[in-house]
């Protein structure tokens, strides 16, 4: 997670997952749409990799203000959702 513009939190494909073993890729198979209200810990995106489907949580409560289109190719560090913290 990273805070971009004031109050907006970026949800990324975690770089910390298998941190020293890069090279894996995935496809965004579902994602919370802009305007959706999300709770802290709620799954906001699903990324399909070869081994599994990764369920990625929102680190904050708020409103989704931007999300990457479903079907996008992603890798560790890719921003997939932006959540306006506490917004709505």
């Amino acid at each position: 997670m990273a805070v971009g513009e004031a109050g907006v939190v970026e949800v990324r494909v975690p770089r910390e997952l298998w941190p020293r073993r890069g090279g894996w890729r995935g496809k965004l198979v579902s994602v919370a749409r802009p305007g959706s209200r999300v709770e802290k810990g709620q799954v906001v995106a699903e990324v399909e990799i070869e081994k599994a489907v990764l369920e990625i949580e929102s680190p904050v409560e708020g409103v989704v203000v931007w999300s990457l289109p479903e079907g996008s190719e992603v890798e560790p560090g890719s921003v997939i959702v932006r959540v306006e913290s506490g917004g709505g």
Binding site: E16, W18, R20, E46, E48, A52, L54, E55
Partner: protein, 296 residues
Amino acid sequence: MAVEAKPRLRISINGEYLRVARLVEGLGIATVCESALCPNIGECWGSGTATFMIMGDTCTRGCRFCYVKKGKPEPLDPGEPWRVAVAVKTLKLDYVTITSVDRDDLPDGGASHFAATVRAVKKLNPGVKVEALIPDFQGVREHVELVARSGLEVLAHNIETVRRLTPLVRDRRAGYEQSLRVLEYAKEARPGLVTKSSILLGLGEEWGEVVEAMRDLRSVGVDILVLSQYLRPSPKQLPVAKRYKLSEFRELAEIGRRLGFAYVVAHPLARTSYKAKEAYLAAIARMKGGGEEQAS
């Protein structure tokens, strides 16, 4: 392959996870959790444990199910045993699994380094239980014995697949019989030693071949059996031929218990080191005759 068929992993990176990540990176110790894209990394690191992979992160073999880097490894680091010991102490582990890459480039396959690591961990952490998941050391008895007699509690070596598929799945230098001999040599070196082996399911084996592999493992005295679902790490590895149902895992576990394994771990996401302490404790309780029957 349908998305629904793949396991779903809830990704939650907590403080404990980050502490483990910083520690292993800081000490320069590889982990199989990262190298093999283990699906259980979140659960294990998140609860403050990891499986260390010694002798570098590059394997001299090219097994076709495995995601660990292949190539020419770096020279051995003589300071590594002590750093692993420090990691165990820092994480306050009372049970640790140590594995390694294959090192066919070394005269003893790395057996003396492996044994030195077990001894260093034991020296710095009195009372810790150590499980070593070893390579086959090309089937050289003396090298297996060196590790088996290094003071560890559990020696694991994975047969990985059934006899027929071994040439397809594993590197040509590996062998089904050779792996059985490794497990046999370990047991003969220290009769009280707990031995363990894993079979990956879903590579194209028949049910009867799995049962045959289980019988073969029992014939060389293996105590703990791990059955898990093969998950293809990347398009470069073998495709998944079948995804087993939980009911099939339960059925195979029951067959394993009837064959006499002291403990059977059977689950799609089970891996050799997953909940290794629990498997060890249950197995020794059963072997001493005081254990409960394992629930299915």
